[in-house]
Every structure is written in C-alpha cells, then in structure tokens.
Amino acid sequence: MAVTIEDLRSIPILAQTVPDDLDTLAELMVTRFYAPDELIFLEGNTPSGIWFILKGQVKIIKVGSGGRIQALCIASSGKCFGTCPLFNQNGNPANAQALTEVTLLMLPQEDLEYLMKNNIRLAWVLLKIYSQYLAQLARLSESLGSLSVSDRINDCLLHHAAHTDSQLVVSLTHEKLAELAGTVREVVSRHLSELAEQNVVQLEFGRIILLNPSALHLPCLAEKK
C-alpha cells in the first residue's frame, strides 16, 4: 500500500516538513500492519529503520535475563520509535511489540542513512525526534533510580491519562502499568485499591478513571511534558 502525503501530515513531528521532503518520504516509506502482541523488532537484531505510528499502540520494552519486563514507553498514533543505529553496531536497543492492531510507516535504514547525510532539513527533524526520546529516557531513568514504587505508578497514571467524555481516563491494564513503572502486577493492584479507597481513582474493567489527579502529582515532576 502506497504511503500518502496525508498519512505523513498526520504525524505531528513531520507537520512542518516542506512538500518536497514529504514527497521524498512518501516515496521511500513502506506501510506495515501488525496484530496485537506481534513483535515488530527484537533487541540486538539489525535495525530495519525508523517507524511512525499511523494507527494503534506500540510498546517498547527491555527484557531482563529473569524474564521481567521494563517498558521504555507506550507509543500511540502520531509518534515514532526506533533509534538510529547508524553510529554503532549493537543492533536494536530494545524490543518493539504491537499492543493493539497497528498500522506503521517505516523508513528503511539505507534511505534513512542517505537522507541524514544529504538532506539537512530531514536530518534536523531526526535530531528533534531523538532529542524527544532523550528527555523521555532521562525522565524514566530518574524515576526508576530515585522515586518510590507508589510515586512511579502515580507518575505513569498521570502520563498516560487521556480526556474521554470530560473524564481523565487511563486505558491500561494493571500488568501494563507494572511494566511501565518497573514493578509487578500485584503491587500495582494493591496501590490502585488504596487510591480507590481514598477516592483518588475509580477502578473499572480495563480502565482507571482519575477523580483527583492533583493528589497524584509529585511537586517537582510537574514540569511540561
């Protein structure tokens, strides 16, 4: 299936891209479809390129040798993932797996490499993308290193809440929250029950409604996302 200019315009980071560059990208990119839970790429494998999410959600995870999972992020439509392995030969730094049915646009590695060296406008876009990843990973490192488990869960709730029917809703399972916060499902469930008792959240099947989001805020993490 051919990639259209409209597809590309729906990706916020590409919104400012000049029409000529969008044409170039549309010509080079390929569309890929994945079913829920399907692996998109594996840690250590040779990277295939950079990916943009047109529809659906993707999780980027690290797996410990004991099988535990730490999510680096859960990315939704409009976002991109896949780092630039151009500069070292270690392969993909993490796994990417479809959470829902997803439609992805992929810019293959060779083309990415060529554009980076020959199109300064697109290289600048790439620098913007990687700088965003950097801020996100710095935040996650800090959260794992210096926040308590409860604070990490609260932080994840705030970070993944979306407005639905004038309510703030987190549509993640307890297990997914545990992967994001770097803990196990039981701890998340216990913490959420406590929050529910304090009327901070309301637990429903498959979703969590934030009734009092300000109670979840950490004083100094309340910075611009």
């Binding site: 535990r68 780092t83 730094p93 620098l127 990687y130 700088s131 800090e142 210096s146 100094c220």
Partner: protein, 227 residues
C-alpha cells in the same frame, strides 16, 4: 582568547568535521574555565549551547523532591549540552562540575545557526544524541534489572581509574552522596555495600581513593541480574 582549530580537532566529537565547519566553530566558541560545583545548566533551563571538556569531570543529573539521580559522569574529551535545543524545550537534565576544569563553549544561538549551515555538524550532533540514548537505555536496564551491588560495581567500573601496583585506583572526586545518586540508592546502603566489597577482598577503601583489587570479580558482580 580565541579557540584554535587544532584544539577542536583533538576532541573526539569534532574530529571528523570539515575544516570549514571547524573554522566557523573556532570563530564563535570560547573558553570557559570552571570551579568544582559550577552549574553549567539546570534541569528546566532554556536550551543551552554545546560544551566540550578539555579537562575536569562533570555530573549529568536529574532531580525531583530532594533526590538526585546522576545519569552519568563525563570526563575530559566529552561533549555535552544542547539536549533540548532542536525542540526549543526546557533542558531535561542538569550538568554540574565535580572537579575544576576548562571547557570550550559554543552558545545556543550560534550553535543553532551552525547546525543548519553544516550538515557534518548536524550529523555529529545526531551521533552525540544517539550515544546518549544508548547510555540512557542501558541505565534503565540496570535500574530495572540489577540490584544495588551490581549497580555499584557497574558504576565503579565506569569511573575513571588508573593502574597502580595494588590494583586500579579511582580517585574520590565525588562524595558518597554522589555515588549513591549514580547507583540510585541511599548513601547508607552504598556505604554498607562498599564495606561488604572490601571484606570480600574486591576493593580497598582509602581516604581519597578506592583501589580495585579484584577487577574480574567486580565485573562478575556487575553482570548479575535479578532473577
């Protein structure tokens, strides 16, 4: 005093730049001598320019509430800064000197202009950001899957050391508190773990240095993951 092209070329990040890019950088960069404790920038500051360390050590960190997480320690020859320049956002991290030293500084407005004029400089910046991404990903891995002993061992291996007749010597340019902030633990826990390592003969604690006596054992400890 103007920065010379020869001096720029010695810095790993700049080594592959074209003479033209180097000339333009040398024309706009200046020297920045700093004392221990000097704050290059703080988390939340507007985008900064680029710093290259000719000498000295710098800690790169994030903080919230009253806790600090050191993301990594930079040594001479390292280039850092401008993390949030492309997106014009607040700086995601802070950078503070652990020792006195000298840096070359390229201010943000000039850097922005040069990045858009010199594809090779933009490529270099992409390279720097990608390297940092790798470092952060591996830090997340350690914090998520390794215990305090393994993380402490890993950090000791990363710190600058030189060989002596007793083993590898790490000079204490950092406090116990800094070490705890690198490991992502409390000072007391790190202190106790260091003493445990000493008892096991892995290292020896001295007033102004840590001597690694059994490097192989320290590497083994660093590689252990929580099951």
């Amino acid at each position: 005093m103007a920065v010379t092209m020869q001096e720029l070329k010695v810095l790993p990040a700049f080594s592959r730049l074209s003479p033209l890019a180097l000339e333009h950088i040398a024309g706009t960069a200046h020297y920045l001598p700093f004392a221990a404790g000097f704050a290059f920038y703080q988390q939340g500051d507007p985008p900064t320019g680029l710093f290259s360390l000719l000498s000295g050590q710098v800690k790169f960190y994030r903080h919230s509430k009253d806790k600090i997480q050191i993301l990594y320690v930079l040594h001479e020859g390292s280039t850092f800064g401008a993390e949030s320049l492309p997106n014009d956002m607040p700086s995601p991290c802070g950078a503070q000197a652990l020792t006195p030293g000298t840096s070359i500084y390229l201010p943000p407005n000039e850097l922005h202009k040069l990045l858009l004029e010199h594809p090779d400089l933009l490529f270099m910046q992409l390279e720097l950001v990608t390297k940092q991404l790798r470092q952060f990903t591996s830090l997340v891995h350690s914090l998520a899957f390794r215990d305090v002993s393994a993380r402490l061992a890993e950090n000791l291996l990363k710190l600058k050391s030189y060989p002596t007749k007793d083993g590898f010597c790490i000079e204490r340019t950092f406090s116990q508190q800094d070490l705890a902030a690198m490991v992502g633990s409390a000072r007391e826990v790190v202190c106790r773990t260091l003493k445990k390592f000493e008892k096991e003969g892995v290292l020896r604690l001295e007033r102004s240095s840590i001597i690694i006596c059994d490097l192989n054992r320290l590497k083994e400890i660093a590689d252990q993951e929580i099951r």
